[in-house]
């Protein structure tokens, strides 16, 4: 069952920490992906804003390479790439659309394109929370966290049907609970953080992210855990702007779930790219290590 890995553009750039921690966690779990050679950008938001055929062509080119390699599945950490690759495959089912996309490509794409999955879903489906718990060496004791999926991970419902209820996914919660953390049910986990509006409409993203941070902070959690490079950037990098917009002081570290899992698996912190987090993760790490030393149990 060969799975091809599609890193996505931000992996090399803004979310290199997400990439490093994802690789680390996958190696720790013995999950082998063959990297996709000569991959190209999935088109992200600008492409499908201009033309669906262009966006599909970009994604289909990647899927076609994977298909020709005989891959059955494509794994990607980034929800935006996930949604583009899946949407493209769905649209290619219509013959007239397929014809228009094939025109843009060098050669006609193969009839059967592989399906794309988020790394989180593959970990959960392949291993499940018991196995993950079994791999934990330094449980995330004493940490009270809330999971935040962002709005793309579980929508649109008909294409992402296998990811759980679009309004109330539970995959990240069960993985983190398996890692020993105290996970709080976060009601705004699928609300939009403002995504790419951070550039043209800075105030809008500030409001939306601000509301998420305010509710999270009110729930008295130690850290917010995200799974999307763009959401993490809006909540972490732009936390001050959001604070200003809400007239509040926010100091809420925003981890990637793979960083948290890496910590639980006992991977060297430096290999998890924690240093890249804007809001310092130190208080969380101190609280965690303190809890580990005293063997404090809830």
């Amino acid at each position: 069952m060969s799975i091809v890995y599609y890193p996505g553009c931000s992996a090399a750039g803004t979310s290199s920490d997400y990439e490093k921690s994802t690789q680390a966690v996958c190696d720790a779990l013995g999950m082998s992906f063959t990297p996709l050679p000569d991959w190209n950008c999935c088109g992200s938001t600008p492409a499908h804003a201009t033309s669906t055929e262009l966006s599909a062509a970009l994604s289909v080119r990647n899927l076609d390479i994977a298909a020709k390699m005989g891959a059955e599945k494509v794994a990607t950490p980034c929800p935006s790439c996930l949604s583009n690759l899946r949407l493209a495959k769905k649209r290619m089912e219509k013959p007239e659309f397929r014809a228009r996309v094939d025109e843009l490509l060098d050669e006609a794409s193969s009839a059967e394109l592989p399906q794309t999955y988020s790394v989180m879903q593959l970990i959960y489906e392949k291993y499940g929370s018991e196995f993950v718990a079994h791999r934990v060496q330094r449980p995330l004791k004493g940490l009270k966290v809330a999971c935040y999926y962002g709005c793309l991970m579980s929508r649109p419902a008909d294409i992402m049907a296998d990811f759980g209820h679009p309004e109330n996914p539970q995959v990240m919660e069960s993985l983190l609970r398996a890692c020993g953390a105290e996970v709080v049910e976060f009601p705004l986990k699928t609300e939009c953080c403002g995504a790419s509006h951070g550039i043209p409409e800075r105030q809008l993203t500030a409001n939306l992210s601000g509301k998420i941070l305010e509710t999270a902070q009110n729930m008295g959690i130690d850290a917010l855990v995200a799974a999307c490079p763009l959401c993490q950037m809006n909540l972490d990098l732009r936390q001050k702007q959001a604070g200003k917009a809400m007239g509040k002081e926010f100091a809420l570290p925003v981890f990637y779930y793979t960083q948290m899992m890496g910590m639980a698996f006992g991977i060297k912190l430096s290999a998890l790219g924690l240093n890249k987090l804007v809001v310092s993760p130190e208080p969380v790490l101190k609280k965690w290590q303190a809890a580990l030393k005293e063997g404090v149990c809830e």
Partner: protein, 653 residues
């Protein structure tokens, strides 16, 4: 055989494009036709008189009228020939209006087609036989299923009409959903005050036998002679001894039993009497929470009961009743709203249903009418009502409007203001449906006098803001912007569907039901309380969403139907049913197997098995006649020979 043929002009409707005189002339040449004419209006008084005249003068044995659709005037003309002494089945019609004159202007083709349809009718008539309705006696007793307001009304009206009534109610007390309401719109008078006396009338009426905490096990038989088996579910309390004093309910140690009557807004004891005005006012033990039944240890209620009514070994009991008619009034249940994850999916304690809020409002409710937040027991300041939760929503298969939610929400908003003068109510709605008497005026009062804030828009999400409030995010389409309300309590106006188990009951009643479980009426506009199964009537929401006045009206309507059914000592059965030729039947059982109504049975005839049709159950569909290989069973008036005669008249000459 002497046949008379009448080719109707129907003014110009037929005469306009069919040469009626020519058709009459052609008809005269058909075999056995001894008289043919073309009257101007056959269905009118003179037309019918002409037919009766001709029957006498020409000693006719059969009449063919070529005019409009038999679905329109077949009954009329059958009565006409009957008045003239002919059997009403010695009559056939040819539809030369809807199927000939109105579908084209080609006179030659129309005239030829009209003549051919008349020839077919004559050919069929020559094979007709006189049919006589069998009469059978009626068991003048009615079964009412469901003790809600509709069922109570039906039972009372029937009892009033001198008919013995068997009332079967699934819960421990009659009263249905209305008994759970605090006040009713639009008059805001107390529900128990207007329902209570009716419930007492039921209890005191000598004609009504009530089986509470009982369900219908099986129904067999036919109109006038139903046999019903009722399962009296075990209450572990001997109701003949129980006086309803309630001593046992105080002493019962198991205090954490969810209070089903109060929609689980509070907890109660394992042995309970639903509510003070319950009829019958008898105790029932909830087996899932009674320590004695679960672990064998306890027995406090048996000790405290002054009359020794408690009996832990009590089992279900099956009782049989014979009735002549059945009224189904099984009411409704709320849609499972927990499928809406965006409203918390049932996880937030302060998001409750309108029925639960009704119990909080009610003085006989768990909080004695004092509105509190289930989470912390504090009085809420901002109460948000959300309309259409599980109604008008195609995505969960409930596209219809539940009808009375807008009105009860307005009432609840008024009551909220009454109970808590400084509270503020918000209502998220799409459209306000207030189309009853005094309804819209009442809703305007909720807005103008009681300051309820109506926000036109859907709610996209409810989430706790971490500080004890519930943020209700929605849109305000009138202002064109998103809106958020910080709510202390959220009341969902949950949509309505048929009562649980309605589908299974429908199969026992042999009536059809739609995909939401509502029972199928005979005709949605003209026969709302009748069904396609003779003797089975409907009342209340089980037939479709409606409010209390309509349910009561249908209760009375169903009772009226039952009383008119029982007004005659004997019932006439439709003679257009199947008959078995005993000689030809070899008891292969194919007809018995395919009859949708179980109207055919095998019986022993001089040592041999033969098939026999139960006249009153047969509906005359003819499936058996098409199934029987040797033609031993023939549907009267549509026998093989009659249909073959029509086919041969077309194809062979």
């Amino acid at each position: 055989m002497r046949i008379g043929v009448f080719i109707c002009h129907c003014g110009s409707n037929i005469g306009g494009t069919v040469d009626c005189a020519k058709v009459a002339a052609l008809a005269a040449t058909f075999p056995d036709v001894v008289y043919a004419t073309d009257p101007m209006y056959t269905c009118a008084e003179p037309g019918q008189a002409a037919i009766e005249e001709a029957i006498k003068n020409y000693q006719l044995d059969g009449v063919v009228v070529a005019s409009c659709s038999p679905r329109m005037h077949e009954p009329t003309f059958r009565r006409t020939v009957e008045r003239a002494g002919l059997n009403r089945y010695m009559f056939e019609m040819a539809n030369i209006r809807e199927h000939v004159s109105w579908i084209g202007k080609d006179i030659e083709a129309n005239t030829n087609k009209a003549a051919e349809l008349v020839k077919m009718a004559v050919a069929k008539l020559r094979n007709n036989k006189a049919l006589h309705a069998a009469s059978f006696d009626v068991n003048k007793k009615v079964l009412v299923i469901g003790g809600g307001v509709a069922g109570i009304q039906a039972a009372l009206d029937c009892a009033e009409g001198g008919i013995p009534v068997v009332l079967v109610e699934r819960e421990a007390t009659i009263g249905g959903k209305m008994a759970k309401l605090d006040k009713t719109f639009p008059t805001v008078d107390c529900s128990a005050c207007i329902l209570g006396p009716k419930m007492v009338d039921v209890a005191q009426s000598p004609n009504i036998t009530t089986y509470a905490y009982s369900e219908i096990e099986s129904i067999s038989g036919y109109v006038g002679n139903f046999t019903v088996t009722i399962r009296k579910k075990t209450t572990y309390v001997d109701w003949s001894k129980c006086t309803g004093c309630g001593a046992c309910t105080e002493k019962c140690p198991s205090k954490k039993t969810p209070d089903a009557f109060n929609e689980v807004t509070g907890l109660t004891t394992a042995i309970t009497i639903a509510f003070p005005q319950a009829i019958p006012k008898k105790a029932v033990i909830n087996a899932q929470h009674c320590k004695k039944l679960l672990t064998g240890k306890c027995g406090v209620c048996a000790k405290t009961c002054p009359t020794g009514a408690i009996n832990y070994e009590m089992k279900d009991e099956l009782v049989t009743e014979t009735v002549g008619a059945i009224v189904a009034a099984t009411g409704y249940d709320l849609v499972d709203w927990t499928q809406y994850e965006q409203y918390g999916g049932g996880r937030y304690p302060d998001v409750i249903t309108s029925l639960q809020y009704e119990r909080l409002l009610s003085a006989s409710g768990p909080t004695g009418g004092h509105i509190v937040r289930p989470s912390d027991g504090k009085e809420p300041k901002n109460v948000v009502f959300i309309q259409c939760v599980g109604s008008r929503d195609r995505s969960i298969g409930r596209p219809y409007c539940s009808g009375f939610c807008c009105m009860y929400t307005a009432k609840q908003a008024v009551l909220t203001k009454d109970h808590m003068p400084d509270s503020q109510s918000y209502v998220f709605y799409m459209d306000i449906r207030a189309n009853g008497k005094l309804y819209d005026e009442f809703q305007r009062r909720a807005v103008e006098e009681y300051g309820t804030e109506y926000i036109r828009g859907r709610v996209s999400k409810i989430y706790p803001d971490g500080k004890g409030h519930l943020i209700v995010k929605g849109a305000d389409t009138l202002l064109g912007q998103a809106v958020e309300v910080e709510a202390d309590l959220v009341v969902l106006a949950v949509g309505v569907e048929a009562a649980k188990g309605a589908a299974r009951l429908a199969e026992k009643l042999r009536i059809s039901y739609d995909s939401y479980g509502f029972f199928m009426e005979s005709h949605v506009k003209l026969k709302p309380v009748e069904t396609n199964t003779a003797g089975v009537y409907l009342a209340g929401v089980c037939q479709g969403v409606k409010d209390i006045p309509a349910s009561v009206a249908q209760g009375s309507a169903a009772a009226a139907k039952v009383l008119s059914l029982f007004s005659k000592d004997k019932l006439q059965s439709d003679p257009q049913i199947s008959q078995v030729d005993i000689k030809r039947c070899i008891a292969c059982g194919k007809c018995v197997q395919t009859c949708p109504f179980g109207a055919i049975e095998l019986f022993d005839f001089r040592g041999q098995q033969k098939a026999r049709v139960i006249e009153t159950v047969c509906q005359g569909c003819g499936l058996c006649t098409a199934t029987c290989p040797q033609g031993a069973i023939q549907l009267a008036h549509f026998t093989d020979n009659q249909i073959l005669a029509e086919v041969d008249a077309l194809c062979q000459c």
